[in-house]
Amino acid sequence: MTLAAEITLIVLAGVAVATCVKLLPAPRPLRRRKAVSAAPSRPQQLVTLERLVTTAGPSAVSAHAYLRPLLIQIVSHRLVARGQTLDRMAETTGREVLGDQLWDIVRPERPFPADRHGPGVQPQELGAMLEVIRRL
C-alpha cells in the first residue's frame, strides 16, 4: 500500500470516528413532573340518558318503565305553560297537540306492554317526539 493510500485511509478513519462521536446519543430530557390536564368528564345524567335511548329501542319494558316517566315530566312542564295538563287532556286533544306517537307513550292510562320483549321506541322515533315537544 502506498503512503498516499495509507494517509487517505487514516483520514477516512478519522472522519468515521468524528461522525460516530456526532452520532452519540444526546442526553435524555430532565425528569420532571408531567403536565397532566384534568380529564374531560361527561355528566352521569347524560351518560344515563344515552344508555336509556339505546336500551329503549329494542325493549318495550325499558321504554315504558324508564323513558315514559321522563317524557311525561318534560311534556307536563311544557303543557303547564299552555295551561293544560296531561291528566285532564282528552284523547282527541292529546293526539292533536302531541301527535299520535308521543300521545301513545305519555297517555295517562297506558298499560304495561303485553309483550315484554317487544320493540320499544327507536331513537329516530324519539327524535321526532322531541321535535314535537320542542314546538309545544
Binding site: R28, A38, P123
Partner: protein
C-alpha cells in the same frame, strides 16, 4: 444529587476499544493512535470526577396573582465548587400553569459564583400551583458524568379567580339589624319613605310631616325603612362537574362565587361559604375584607370529590345557615343530592336562589344519532327541572360560560318580585 455516566461516556469508551481491537487485528499501530485520545479523554473524565456543589432556591415575584396574570419566577443557582459547572434547569410543569421558556434552560455557572435564571409564569386557572423544587442536571467540565437532583423548596403560587363586577345583586327578602345598604321591611330611622302615622310621645320634631298634619288636623310623622345588611350564604355544589379539555363547570362556579362574595361584602353584608360536595367545608358568615380573602382562599381549594355519601341539610351545622339568610346555590344541577338539598331548603322556608352554571357548553353531543337524541332529551330534562324548581318558588339564574352574570341576576330579581308574596309565606 445522583450521579450517572453521561450518554457520551460509553460511546467514547467503545470508540477507543474499537480502535485498539482494530489495531491488534490488522497489526497497524496507526489505528491505536486514533484510539488513544479517546482513552485519555474518558480516563481523565472518570478519574477527575467530583460531585458539583450546586445549591439554590426558587423565588416568586409575588405569591398571589389573578388567574391569567403573568409573573416572574427566579431560580438562583450557586456553585460552591472550585470548577465551573454546566447546569440545566427545568421548572415543574402543570397543565394549568404556562411556563416560558417551556423546556430546559442550560447555563454555565462559574466557580464560587451565582447566577439567576428567570421564568415567566402564567396560571391559566385559579388554584394553588406548586412551583419548585426545580429539576437540575449538572455536568463536570469534561461532560463525562451527569448529576441530577432537585433545587430549592416548593413555593405555592395562589391564583385567585378573576371576578366580574356586578352592578345588580339578588335582593334579600329579610335583613339583619346591622347597618347596610338593603332597604329593610321594618320601620325605623332611614332614608326610604314608608308611611305616615299619628304623632306619639318620643317622636322627634324633624319627623313631623307638616303637610299631612295640616291636612288631617293632628300631628303626623313620617315613618321610614332603615338600611340594613343581610346574611348571604354561597353554597357551592362540588358533587359533580362537566368538563372539557379547557375548562369545567367548577371553574366557572368558583369565579361566580368569588364575584358574588366580593359584591355582597362590598354592600356590607355578612357572607359565608359552604362547599357542599363529596367533602364538606364551610366558612361562617362574617363581614369585611378579611372575610373576602378567607372566602377566596377557601374557594380556590375547592375540588370535585367523588363520594356515594348522601348529604342533606342536616349535614350542615346550623350556624352556617343563619335564619333569614339569603342562600345562593351555585350549581350545575347535575347531582341528585344537590337538587334534593335545594328542594329541602325551600321547603324549610329559606330565601333561596339557584345560579345554574350550565354544563351544556362543556359537553358536546356523542358521535351517533342516538347520542344526539339523548343530548336533546337531556336538554329538555334540565329545562323541566328548572321549571320544577321555579314552581317551588326558587328563582333560577342560568349562567353560561362566556356570558355575564348581571342579566341573569336581573331575571332572578324580576322573578322574585313577581313571586314575593308567595316567597314570604
Amino acid at each position: 444529587m445522583n450521579g450517572s455516566l453521561a450518554p457520551r461516556t460509553p460511546g467514547v469508551l467503545a470508540l477507543a476499544g474499537a480502535g485498539l481491537i482494530a489495531a491488534l487485528a490488522t497489526g497497524r499501530p496507526e489505528l491505536a493512535l486514533i484510539a488513544v485520545p479517546f482513552l485519555v479523554f474518558a480516563g481523565a473524565g472518570l478519574v477527575l470526577v467530583r460531585e458539583p456543589q450546586v445549591t439554590g432556591a426558587v423565588e416568586l415575584e409575588r405569591v398571589r396573582v389573578l388567574e391569567g396574570e403573568e409573573l416572574t419566577a427566579t431560580v438562583r443557582v450557586r456553585n460552591d465548587g472550585p470548577e465551573p459547572v454546566e447546569v440545566e434547569v427545568a421548572p415543574a410543569r402543570t397543565a394549568q400553569l404556562a411556563v416560558v421558556p417551556a423546556g430546559t434552560v442550560a447555563v454555565r455557572v462559574g466557580a464560587q459564583s451565582e447566577i439567576e435564571v428567570a421564568f415567566s409564569l402564567r396560571p391559566r386557572r385559579w388554584g394553588a400551583h406548586g412551583i419548585g423544587p426545580v429539576a437540575i442536571r449538572a455536568r463536570d467540565a469534561l461532560g463525562m458524568t451527569n448529576w441530577e437532583g432537585r433545587l430549592g423548596e416548593r413555593v405555592d403560587l395562589r391564583a385567585f379567580p378573576s371576578e366580574e363586577r356586578l352592578r345588580e345583586l339578588v335582593a334579600p327578602l329579610r335583613t339583619q339589624p346591622f347597618l347596610g345598604t338593603h332597604v329593610a321591611r321594618a320601620r325605623a330611622e332611614g332614608i326610604e319613605f314608608a308611611d305616615i302615622r299619628p304623632f306619639q310621645v318620643g317622636d322627634r320634631v324633624r319627623q313631623v310631616n307638616w303637610r299631612a298634619t295640616a291636612r288631617r288636623g293632628s300631628l303626623q310623622v313620617n315613618q321610614r325603612h332603615p338600611e340594613h345588611s343581610s346574611d348571604v350564604v354561597l353554597l357551592l355544589d362540588t358533587f359533580e362537574e362537566a368538563r372539557d379539555e379547557a375548562s369545567g363547570t367548577l371553574d366557572s362556579a368558583v369565579r361566580t362565587a368569588a364575584s358574588l362574595a366580593r359584591a355582597h361584602l362590598g354592600q356590607r353584608d355578612r357572607v359565608g361559604v359552604v362547599d357542599f360536595g363529596g367533602t364538606l367545608h364551610w366558612l361562617e358568615p362574617a363581614f369585611g375584607t378579611t372575610q373576602l380573602y378567607r372566602i377566596v382562599d377557601a374557594l380556590i381549594s375547592s375540588n370535585i370529590a367523588f363520594s356515594y355519601a348522601w348529604r342533606n341539610v342536616d349535614s350542615l351545622p346550623q350556624r352556617v345557615l343563619p335564619p333569614g339568610a339569603l342562600i345562593l346555590v351555585i350549581t350545575p344541577l347535575l347531582d341528585e343530592r344537590s337538587i334534593a338539598l335545594v328542594s329541602e331548603l325551600r321547603r324549610r322556608g329559606c330565601d333561596l336562589t339557584v345560579v345554574e352554571v350550565s354544563p351544556l357548553d362543556h359537553v358536546p353531543p356523542g358521535p351517533t344519532a342516538a347520542d344526539a337524541v339523548a343530548y336533546e332529551l337531556w336538554r329538555l330534562q334540565r329545562e323541566a327541572l328548572r321549571a320544577h324548581l321555579q314552581a317551588l318558588g326558587i328563582a333560577v339564574a342560568v349562567w353560561r360560560p362566556g356570558g355575564t352574570l348581571g342579566p341573569a341576576l336581573e331575571e332572578v330579581n324580576a322573578f322574585r318580585r313577581s313571586a314575593q308574596p308567595a316567597l314570604r309565606a
